[in-house]
Structures are given as structure tokens and as C-alpha cells.
């Protein structure tokens, strides 16, 4: 009875497998989803150990996803009703979840421990405030700045970083020769927005109901950038690459100026042999505009134990771990007390890193591209698609802006 035996084998096998670990989170288990920090494994195990000193009977599951996978993953987990309790979200992605009432309002928790509330930087906390509710607390903070390759500036006879959009493009043209290009920017989220901000462009009308970016100055700026890109003064990777490609390009020493946020520096220094205090310059973008790209901790609405989740967040962001994180992964944490210590540490250990990190807490009043729009993700997608087409010379700037305007308004109406 070969077949019968097969059937039995099959049945047994399936039965065996069906009994496999299921992730419908048990009461005494919380799960934590971080954003692309697998290298930090050992320390996160430290968080968990500390957390379990307070709650010995609670299991902690740690998950990590890289940027592009993070959103889709969280989405599938939302559908399955197994969304991780504690989530580490980058940039504006949290807005959509907050607006759809998918996140826990942390206000009450903060009200309950005021010392924790005062622990976080009061000028940074509001950036996770949506319609009067506090949905996130800072995990680590970053915003864009301008790195420049002093050697290349010197070769082009330039003595200082640009002070205006016109200068920026002009400098880029002077440096962009042959294999070399003068300027490059990161483009994910809204990191390229300072380029528009310094031309006085607003994305939306003050009431946030209509698109407001389709202006002559915007068209002019876009056109200028497109031309500069076509001539190789602005590196094409600015509009095609995501993270690794632009960093590698700058690390290769063939790009004059690079608008990116602090974490890019440490990636670049890892692979760029040329980088030292004498060769790498650090400045604010013209006009001091910068787009934040900070990470915050939030709690999923579906969490069965928000109280435990909150305790975990407190551990992960406390002075000990904040300092460890800042000094190991070279970031500031949005907790002033910790950040001062981190800065002191780097001033001593690594002056160049210090000069970079310092910029991250300067002119926090010049933050742009961080509007609290429920449909941020969709708007970003629609807007950038058109802008990218123009920047890569597939569409005239005016037409691209018009179409972007149409789409964005459509999204806002839906």
C-alpha cells in the first residue's frame, strides 16, 4: 500500500507542521519592529535584558526591516492583526497610521511620567504631534545638511560653500567636469525639499487643502536643476538612487557637494578613503533649510499591552541606552541631556563626527518638508514621480508641475 503509506506520511507531516509556532502574540509577549539596524543586534538584546529586569515574565520579539520593506511589512501585519507593539518609524511614515487611528496616543503616558516628558527635547517632540495628539517619542534624530569635498572646491577655485540656490547651481557647474559632478542629493522621503524651500516654494496652501507648489519660481528652480542634471553638473543619481548608490558616489570622491542627513556621513566615511577633517567640509544648506528624517518610537493601536510597550520604549530611550546608541551608531537622540554627553564624547574622540552631529541640533526653526499630512505617503509618491520625470528631462518643468498639482489635489480631495 505505497499510496496509503504516502497519504499517511503526508497527513502526519502536515499535522506536525501545523503545530509550528504561531505568532498570534500571546498576552505576555510584546514585539518590537526597528528600522534597518541589524548591526545593532547586541545592544538591542541589552534593551531586552534591561526590560525583562522590570518585567521578568514578558517575552520580547525583535524584528528589523530595511527601509523599502518596512512599510509593506507593517501593512501585512496590520491586516493580520499582529502588528508589532513597539515600532521605530522613520520620517513621516507614521502620519498615515496616526491619521487612520492606528497608533496609540502617547499623551497620557507622558502626562503620567512628567520627568520622561521633560527628558525629550521640547522643540523636537512636537514633530510627532498630529491634531493635538503625541504619537511618537524621539529614538534618534537627524536632518539634512550639506557635505562638500574641499579638494574639489579648491580645484574649482572656490573658497566657501554656496550661500544661495543660484550659487549652489553655479558652484555645481564649475565642479561638474567629465566624470565629476558638482552636486548631489538624497531623494527619499522629502529630503530634496530644501532645494525648493530656498526658492520660496510651499507644497500646500496654509490650510493644507490645496497644492500650492505650481509657481513660476518653482518651475524656474526645477528647470535649472533639470538642465544642470542634463549637463552633469548635478549628479543623475540624485534622482534615481536611494541610499547606497548616492553614498557610494560621494565616497568615490567624484561629487563636489552632497545634501544628505548625518547618517550618510558615517556610511560615506566607511567606504571613502579620502575623507578627513581637511578634505570634508560640513555646512548648512543655503538659507539654513533642512528636512528632518528622524526616527521615533510609537505603539500600535492593536497592541494588547500598550503599558508594557511604553515601558520598553522608556528603556530603549533612557540615558544609558540613548548614550550607547548615540556613541555606537553616531546619532543624536533628541534627549538634550544625552545629546550634550554624546557631543562631548565626539568632540574628544572624533572631531569630524562632532562637526557633523553639531549641525543636527542647529536652526531647528528652519525645518522644512515635515508637514503633518495624513496622505503624506501618497502625496510624496505622486509629487516625486512628476518631479523626477522633469529632473531627468522627460517632461518640461511647467508640465510636470501642472500634472503634479492635478494629482496632489486629487489625492487631497479623495
Amino acid at each position: 500500500m505505497k499510496l496509503v503509506r504516502l497519504v499517511v506520511l503526508g497527513a502526519v507531516l502536515m499535522a506536525a507542521v501545523a503545530g509550528c509556532p504561531e505568532t498570534a502574540a500571546a498576552q505576555q509577549k510584546i514585539s518590537v519592529l526597528t528600522w534597518n539596524i541589524p548591526v545593532y543586534k547586541e545592544k538591542i538584546e541589552g534593551w531586552i535584558a534591561d526590560f525583562r529586569k522590570i518585567h521578568p515574565d514578558v517575552q520580547v520579539e525583535w524584528l528589523d526591516k530595511k527601509g523599502p520593506e518596512w512599510g509593506p511589512f507593517y501593512q501585512t501585519q496590520l491586516v493580520a492583526g499582529t502588528a508589532p507593539d513597539v515600532i521605530d518609524v522613520q520620517g513621516g511614515l507614521w502620519l498615515e497610521y496616526a491619521a487612520n487611528n492606528g497608533l496609540v496616543d502617547l499623551g497620557p503616558f507622558l502626562a503620567r511620567d512628567p520627568e520622561v516628558k521633560d527628558y525629550y527635547n521640547p522643540r523636537i517632540l512636537p514633530s510627532w504631534n498630529y491634531e493635538g495628539k503625541q504619537y511618537m517619542v524621539p529614538f534618534y534624530i537627524s536632518k539634512t545638511l550639506l557635505f562638500y569635498n574641499k579638494t574639489m572646491l579648491k580645484e574649482a577655485g572656490l573658497t566657501r560653500p554656496p550661500q544661495s540656490f543660484e550659487e549652489l547651481v553655479d558652484f555645481a557647474r564649475q565642479m561638474g567636469k567629465g566624470e565629476k559632478s558638482g552636486f548631489m542629493t538624497l531623494n527619499f522621503d522629502w529630503l530634496y525639499w530644501p532645494l525648493f524651500a530656498m526658492n520660496g516654494v510651499e507644497l500646500l496652501s496654509p490650510d493644507g487643502k490645496k497644492a500650492a507648489f505650481n509657481t513660476p519660481s518653482a518651475a524656474k528652480a526645477l528647470d535649472t536643476l533639470a538642465k544642470a542634471t542634463a549637463d552633469g553638473a548635478v549628479n543623475k543619481v540624485s534622482w534615481t538612487g536611494r541610499w547606497v548608490e548616492p553614498n557610494d558616489a560621494f565616497a568615490s570622491g567624484t561629487v563636489g557637494m552632497y545634501q544628505a542627513h548625518a547618517p550618510a556621513f558615517f556610511y560615506v566615511r566607511g567606504s571613502g578613503k579620502w575623507i578627513s577633517a581637511d578634505t570634508l567640509g560640513v555646512a548648512q544648506m543655503p538659507g539654513g533649510f533642512a528636512t528632518p528624517n528622524s526616527h521615533g518610537f510609537g505603539i500600535s493601536k492593536s497592541s494588547k499591552r500598550p503599558d508594557l510597550a511604553w515601558d520598553f520604549i522608556k528603556v530603549a530611550t533612557n540615558e544609558k541606552w540613548g548614550y550607547t546608541f548615540g556613541t555606537t551608531l553616531r546619532n543624536l537622540t533628541g534627549a538634550p541631556r544625552v545629546d550634550t554627553r554624546i557631543l562631548e564624547y565626539f568632540q574628544k574622540e572624533d572631531p569630524l563626527a562632532y562637526s557633523v552631529l553639531k549641525t543636527q541640533v542647529e536652526n531647528l526653526d528652519k525645518l522644512v518638508g515635515n508637514w503633518r499630512q495624513a496622505k503624506d505617503a501618497q502625496i510624496k509618491e505622486a509629487f516625486y514621480t512628476e518631479i523626477q520625470a522633469a529632473l531627468l528631462g522627460r517632461k518640461p518643468a511647467a508640465q510636470a508641475l501642472a500634472e503634479a498639482e492635478r494629482k496632489v489635489n486629487r489625492i487631497l480631495q479623495r
Binding site: 509593506p72 491586516v79 497610521y97 543623475k236 534615481t240 509618491e381 514621480t385 523626477q388 522627460r394 486629487r410
Partner: protein, 299 residues
């Protein structure tokens, strides 16, 4: 007694069918219906479902450029199937001839089919690389270009590049199917035709092609289904970029559902995809007169 036995046999037969039918019911029929329902609702995991009529379809057909782009791309991708099939036919004819080492050739040409598509995508992604890619290296050495082309970042090249990779993987499979067809043609037909003084061309046109119809039709349908389902290659090679230049319906469905978190809209897209697939296959069926019985799924 006899009646009872017949009933028992009927029961046995249905028992034999049960598991398969259950699976298809669970993962083909029900999802189809569910999709239809989802597509006329406003629904998200965070909000209760409400009836929305043709809201999503209106959005899709009237306002969503990306939908039309991905639809166009899907059709282009589909249109590449005949190329692969022609190639496969030619190869099959060659390796079918009483040639020394033909089994080796067959094996080599077929070997790309069982390969994991994700890995294939990674390999080609890197063959196409602007700086390190073998293809660019060869082009430069041949003096055809002086600077490497960033194939997968280029609006003009991304789609052809992906298609080449896709054909590279599927052609062997097509070849085997055509080969099967060729071998089922009785040789004496050719001999008879030869005696009647028909030259090769005539023999090919009058005997080979007509008798190969089922196999070719099968390839065609597989190609069509492929163009509606090949997610892996795109996901690994381009993620639908640059600027949606390689976005197919299937990848757009994934994006809509899990990146833009609009599962209901994605469901509507799925319905359209399915209707389209049926229409195209039906048309192909009519055109080639192939019998639908030969249609095989290409999971």
C-alpha cells in the same frame, strides 16, 4: 446491492477529488469572489468596510496614470512572448535534427528554467550594472559605447533589459514544449511529402506548423500568463522603476496594497487584471484555434 455499490464508487471518486478541489476552492474560487467584493468597498485594516460602488474603478480608469502606465507595460511585456516562442521554435527545430550532442544542447538551453527567479534577477541586475556589469564591459570593449549605460535606471532600456532576462529564463521551457510537439509528429508524413516532392519550406509550412499548433498555443498562453504574473524579476531588478517604466499590473497591485496601503484599490486592480487575462487568452484561443484543454497554469 448493485445500486449501493455504484453509490459507493461515486463516493470514492469524489473523495479522490476532494483534496484538490478543496485547495482550488480555497485559493482560486473564493479569492476571486472576495476580490470582487473588496473592489466595491472602502476598506482598510484600520477602518470598517463600507460599500463604495464603482469608486475605485472610477479612480483607476479616469484619474490614475500609473494604472495606465502599468497596463501599457504589461501589454509590452506580453508582446515579447512571441519573440521567445519564435526563438524556442527555432532552437527546437535545431536540436530536434539528428544532431550529435543534441541532448547536451537541450539540457544547457533548458537549465535556466528551474533557476530561482529571485537569483536570476539579482544576477541580471548586476550584469546590467553601469560600472561593473559584464554587458557594459563588453559593449565598451566592442567600442559600441564609450560610457556604460545604466540599463535599469534608463527609461528607454529598463523594460527591454527586463524582458531579455525574462526570455532568457523561459525560452528553454518553451523549447521543451515545442520539442514535445515536434516529436509527436509521425515521421512518415514527412517522407510522404518528400515523395510528393515538397521542399523543406513547404514541408515546414504544411506539416510542421499546423501539427505544432497545440504546443505553440500552449507556449503563447504560458507567455501571456507570465506577463501577468512575473513579479519576482521586476521586484528584484527594478522595483517597477525608473519612474514606473517597468511597473507591471502585478507589481502595481503589490505596491497599491502594501506600499500605499490601499488593499481595496488593489483588489479592484486585481479584478481588472483578471478580466484582461481572460479576454486575452480567449482571443488567443480563437486566433490560434488551439483547444483550451492544452492550457496550463504557470505558477
Amino acid at each position: 446491492m448493485n445500486v449501493a455499490r455504484r453509490w459507493r464508487r461515486q463516493g470514492v471518486i469524489w473523495l479522490l477529488l476532494a483534496p484538490s478541489l478543496a485547495i482550488f476552492f480555497l485559493y482560486r474560487i473564493v479569492p476571486l469572489g472576495w476580490n470582487a467584493v473588496l473592489s466595491v468597498q472602502k476598506w482598510s485594516p484600520l477602518r470598517p468596510a463600507e460599500f463604495a460602488g464603482l469608486y475605485h474603478y472610477e479612480e483607476m480608469l479616469l484619474h490614475d496614470d500609473v494604472f495606465w502606465t502599468s497596463l501599457g507595460n504589461t501589454l509590452v511585456y506580453m508582446a515579447s512572448a512571441p519573440i521567445g516562442i519564435a526563438l524556442a521554435l527555432a532552437l527546437a527545430l535545431l536540436v530536434n535534427a539528428g544532431l550529435r550532442g543534441r541532448t547536451v544542447y537541450r539540457a544547457i538551453i533548458f537549465v535556466s528554467y528551474p533557476l530561482m527567479t529571485v537569483a536570476v534577477g539579482i544576477i541580471w541586475r548586476w550584469l546590467y550594472d553601469e560600472k561593473l556589469g559584464l554587458i557594459n564591459y563588453v559593449l565598451i570593449r566592442l567600442g559600441l559605447v564609450e560610457r556604460g549605460i545604466a540599463f535599469l535606471d534608463s527609461f528607454t532600456w529598463a523594460m527591454p533589459a527586463v524582458i531579455v532576462a525574462a526570455i532568457w529564463q523561459i525560452v528553454g521551457f518553451f523549447m521543451i514544449i515545442v520539442l514535445a510537439g515536434l516529436q509527436s509528429i509521425p515521421p512518415n508524413l514527412y517522407e510522404a511529402a518528400a515523395i510528393d516532392g515538397a521542399d523543406r519550406g513547404q514541408r515546414f509550412a504544411r506539416i510542421t506548423v499546423p501539427l505544432l499548433r497545440p504546443s505553440l498555443f500552449l507556449c503563447l498562453v504560458l507567455g501571456i500568463i507570465n506577463s501577468f504574473t512575473s513579479f519576482d524579476l521586476i521586484y528584484v531588478m527594478t522595483r517597477g522603476g525608473p519612474n514606473y517604466a517597468t511597473e507591471l499590473l502585478i507589481t502595481y497591485i503589490y505596491r497599491a496594497a502594501f506600499v500605499l496601503s490601499q488593499l481595496d484599490y488593489a483588489a479592484a486592480l486585481t479584478v481588472v487584471l483578471f478580466v484582461l487575462l481572460l479576454a486575452v487568452t480567449w482571443a488567443a484561443n480563437r486566433a490560434t484555434g488551439g483547444e483550451a484543454g492544452a492550457v496550463e497554469a504557470a505558477e
